[in-house]
Symmetry: C2
Subunit: 358 residues, 2 copies
DNA sequence: CTGAAAGCGCTTACAG
DNA sequence: CTGAAAGCGCTTACAG
C-alpha cells in the first residue's frame, strides 16, 4: 500500500479511502490511486484490513447437511449472492455432530471470523439462543423453528404447505392418508416437522377425516428415513392408500420401500412430498415445490443490506436512499423478528392418483 | 491477551506460545496460562493472529456445483476433516460462471485468505496453471483433468471405471452400447469425460465391437444433460440396447427420457452410470461406485499434513515422526505430482439386464 | 524456558 | 478533500 501511495503521490490513508470507494475522495485523486493500484497489481491484505477495520468481509453459513437437496440449493444461491457482493463464505456443515453445533454457536468466537451468519434449519435450544444473543452478531435464519430475537427469518408456510399436500390427496378421494415426518430424536426447537404435521391434521379435520395415529410415523428427513418410516407403516398392517411425506427425499425412500414390498405407485399407494427436488421429475413424484434458491438469495440479501449500509458514509447512505433501507420496516427495530414467507405450489406428477376403490 | 498474560504472570509472548502448544514452554507455565485463558474466556483474535503470523487457519475449497452429488459429498467430508483439525473452510462454487473462476484463481489473492486450496474437478487452462503456480500456495486437486505441478491429485481411474461399466453391458450380451458423456462446450483441460470415453471404447474394442459414433453423444454431467443426450440418441433412430452414462445423474436423466419415450428399463434398454449416487438405490440404477467422501477426506489430509508439520517446532516434529511425514514419499519433492487413485466397484441393480433378443 | 520490542498492513479519529 | 499518527491484537526473531 505504501508503494501505491507513493506512486499516486498521496498518503496511505487516502489510498485506503479511494480503494474502498469512500465518498470523501476527489474524483481525480481516486482515479490516480486506482491507476497506481492497477499498475502495481495491488490488492489489500484481508488480514490487516480486518484487524484495523473490524470487518471480516465474510459470512458464516451453517447447514445441517450440505448433501441434502434443500441445503445444497440454498448454499449455492447464498454463495453466488455473497461472492457477487464481495463477501467470502465460511461453511459449517453440522452433519449431525452435536459438538460441531456447540463449537459453531459458542466457542468459535464467530464474530471475529464473520460479519454475519446465516443459520439454515439449525435446531436451537434456549441456551443456544442466549449464546447467539451474546455474540451480538447480525444474522438471518432460514426455515428455523426457533426465531432468534432481532434476526429476520426466511421460510415457507409449513402448515399451509402440508395442508395443500394433504388436501390434494383428499381431493383425489383418499381417506387413509399416512404422514411420515419429523425426527424422533429431536428434542430441539426445530419445528418444521411439527408444522407440517399440523397442516396434515388440519386438512384431515377440515375434510371430516379423523387422523389415525397409527398412520403417523416419525423418522429422519432423509431417503433412508422415508424408507424406514414406510417399512414401519407396512409392518403395522392395513396400509394407507396415500402417503404424505414431509420431504421429497423421504418420499423417495418411501417409494423405494413400497416397490420392494410389491406395491405400485400410484395404483396401490399414492405418494406426495415437499421440495420439488431435482429428481422429483425423474421419479414422477408429485410434490409441493418450495423456492430453495430464493430463500437463500433473500436471506443473504437481508443480511448484507444493513451491513453494506453501515459501511457507507452516513451522508451518502441518505442520498442513496433505498439501498440502505431494510427490506421490511419492522426489521429495523433490532429486536422484532421479521418473517419473510415465500410461496409454495402444488406440482402434480405421476405418484398421486385416486385410490383403487374409486 | 494482555489480561491473560497479567493473570498468569507472564508476557504476552509466552501466552501466545502456550496457547498454540509450542514446545518451548514449561509445563507449569503452560498450565497457568491455559487456566488464565479459561478463566477469562479468552480466545485469540484470528485477524491479529493472521496478520502477525501469516497463517490464516483457513482452506479454500473450489467446486463446480455444490448441488451435484459428487461435489456435495466431497465437500461434506472435507468440511468434517478440516473443522476437526481446527481449520475453517471457505467455499467457492463456480456454478458455471467463468468470471468466478477467474476471480478465484487470480485476483482474489487467495494466499492471503487461505493456507491452501482444494480444487475439485475444476477445469484449468494453461494460463490458469501459470496463475496457480504464481500463487505459490499449497493445494490438492480432486479428479482434475490437468495436474497442477507440485500438487497431489486424488482421483479414481476413469478409464478403468468406464471399461468395467462397458464390460458389464457386454457381458450381459449387449453389442449396441451407447455412451453419453462429456461437455461439448468444454474446451478446458478437464479430462474426466475423455477418460471415460476411452475406457468405453477400449472395452468395446477388446470385445471385438467397433464403436459406432452415432451412439456416442456429448452433453452435460447433469440430469438434464443425460435427458437431452438420450433424446438425441433416440432421434437418431435404431436405438441402442444399452447406455453407459458417465455419471449417475446423467443416467437418471436418461432413464427419465427413455420412459417418456415408452421404453422400459431394463427390458428395452439397459442403463448404467458412475458414482453410486444417494438415489441410485431408489431408482434401481446399476452403477460403478466411487468413494466420494474418501476422496475428500484424503485430499484434506494430504493438504493439511504438511501444513501442520511446518507449524510444529522442528524438534518436536522429528519426535512425532509419522505425523509430519507426507503420505507418499514422492509428494515431498515439491514439483512432482503424486496421484492417489482410489478404487471403484461395480454395483449391479435393476437397470441392467440382457438384451431382449437374448 | 522467557521477555522486550518490533512489526504484520491496514483503518480511523483527529486536525486541518 | 487529505495527511500524520495511533492503534487494531497478535507473532517472531533476538537476546538472555
Amino acid at each position: 500500500m505504501d508503494d501505491v501511495a507513493r506512486l499516486a503521490g498521496v498518503s496511505t490513508a487516502t489510498v485506503s479511502r479511494a480503494l474502498r470507494g469512500l465518498p470523501t475522495v476527489s474524483t481525480a485523486t481516486r482515479e490516480r490511486v486506482l491507476a497506481a493500484a492497477e499498475q502495481l497489481d495491488y490488492a489489500v491484505s484481508p488480514s490487516a484490513s480486518r484487524l484495523a477495520g473490524g470487518r471480516t468481509g465474510t459470512i458464516a453459513v451453517v447447514v445441517p447437511r450440505i448433501t441434502r437437496w434443500f441445503f445444497g440449493t440454498v448454499v449455492e444461491a447464498v454463495e453466488e449472492f455473497l461472492h457477487e457482493a464481495g463477501y467470502d463464505l465460511l461453511l459449517y456443515n453440522l452433519g449431525g455432530r452435536e459438538q460441531t453445533r456447540q463449537r459453531v454457536l459458542r466457542t468459535t468466537n464467530l464474530p471475529k471470523r464473520a460479519d454475519g451468519v446465516i443459520l439454515v434449519a439449525t435446531p436451537l435450544r434456549p441456551t443456544d439462543l442466549t449464546a447467539l444473543a451474546a455474540l451480538d452478531l447480525p444474522g438471518v435464519t432460514i426455515s428455523s423453528g426457533s426465531a432468534v430475537p432481532g434476526w429476520p427469518c426466511v421460510r415457507i408456510d409449513d402448515v399451509a404447505t402440508a395442508r395443500t399436500a394433504t388436501r390434494h390427496l383428499l381431493d383425489l378421494g383418499h381417506r387413509r392418508i399416512a404422514h411420515i415426518s419429523g425426527d424422533p430424536d429431536d428434542e430441539l426447537a426445530f419445528t418444521t416437522h411439527l408444522d407440517r404435521r399440523r397442516g396434515y391434521q388440519d386438512a384431515l379435520h377440515a375434510a371430516g377425516v379423523r387422523p389415525d395415529p397409527s398412520l403417523d410415523v416419525e423418522s429422519q428427513f432423509t431417503i433412508d428415513g422415508g424408507a424406514r418410516a414406510t417399512e414401519e407403516l407396512l409392518r403395522r398392517g392395513d396400509p394407507p392408500t396415500a402417503i404424505f411425506a414431509a420431504s421429497d427425499e423421504m418420499a423417495m425412500g418411501s417409494i423405494s420401500t413400497l416397490r420392494e414390498a410389491g406395491l405400485r405407485v400410484p395404483q396401490d399407494v399414492s405418494v406426495i412430498g415437499v421440495d420439488d427436488h431435482d429428481l422429483a421429475g425423474v421419479l414422477g413424484l408429485s410434490t409441493i415445490a418450495q423456492p430453495a434458491a430464493d430463500q437463500g438469495r433473500l436471506a443473504a440479501r437481508l443480511l448484507l443490506d444493513p451491513l453494506r449500509a453501515t459501511t457507507l458514509d452516513p451522508l451518502r447512505a441518505s442520498v442513496l436512499g433505498p439501498l440502505g433501507a431494510p427490506l421490511d420496516p419492522a426489521a429495523g427495530d433490532g429486536t422484532a423478528t421479521t418473517s419473510v414467507i415465500l410461496p409454495t405450489r402444488l406440482v402434480v406428477r405421476e405418484s398421486t392418483a385416486p385410490p383403487r376403490a374409486h
